[in-house]
Symmetry: C2
Subunit: 98 residues, 2 copies
C-alpha cells in the first residue's frame, strides 16, 4: 500500500500510528487481568477474521498491538479493518491520570 493511502486510512482510526510498514497502537489498562481480557477479545476477533496481529504485554498493564499483512510484506486494507474492529472491542481503561 502506498504511504498516502495508508495515511488516509489511518485518519479513520483512533490512536493508531504507522511504524514502518506496520500499524501500531498502545493500550494501558487498570490491571493485568483487564489487559488479558482484552488480549483474549483480540484473539477471538483475529480467529474470526483469519488475520492475526502481533501483541506484546509488558509491565503487567501495557499492551502494544501491531498488524501487517505477511502475504504482501506490508499493509493492506485488512489491517485497517482489523484495527477498527479492535477499537470497537470492550476495553477497561485505567482511571484518568493513572
Amino acid at each position: 500500500m502506498e504511504r498516502p493511502r495508508a495515511e488516509e486510512l489511518l485518519g479513520t482510526l483512533d490512536g493508531w500510528d504507522l511504524q514502518g510498514d506496520r500499524l501500531h497502537r498502545h493500550f494501558r489498562f487498570r490491571d493485568f487481568a483487564g489487559a488479558m481480557r482484552f488480549v483474549n477479545a483480540i484473539a477471538e476477533l483475529a480467529e474470526q477474521e483469519g488475520h492475526h496481529p502481533d501483541f506484546s504485554l509488558h509491565g503487567w498493564n501495557l499492551l502494544d498491538v501491531t498488524t501487517s499483512t505477511h502475504a504482501i510484506g506490508g499493509l493492506s486494507e485488512n489491517d485497517f479493518i482489523l484495527a477498527g474492529k479492535i477499537d470497537r472491542l470492550p476495553r477497561e481503561a485505567p482511571p484518568e491520570g493513572r
Copy 2:
C-alpha cells in the same frame, strides 16, 4: 543477583537464556489457538504467583516470554521459580521439523 548465581540457576531450567538482566524463553506452537491457550495458562500462573512476566506473541505461533523483578531492577530467585513453573505448564508443541 550476581551473574554467576544467575548462570547457576539457569542450569536448573530448560530452554531459557539470560538477556541482560532478564530471563527469556522462546516457544513455538502448532497454531495461534495453541499459543493463546499457553498464554492464558501463563497468565493464570502469574496471578497465582503475584509475579507477571512480559510476553510477545508474533507471527501467529511464536511466543517470547521474559521475566525480571521490577522491585530490584533485575533478576531474583522468583524469576527462576516462575520460569520453572512455566516449563511445567501443559504445552502443545508443533510437530517435529516444522
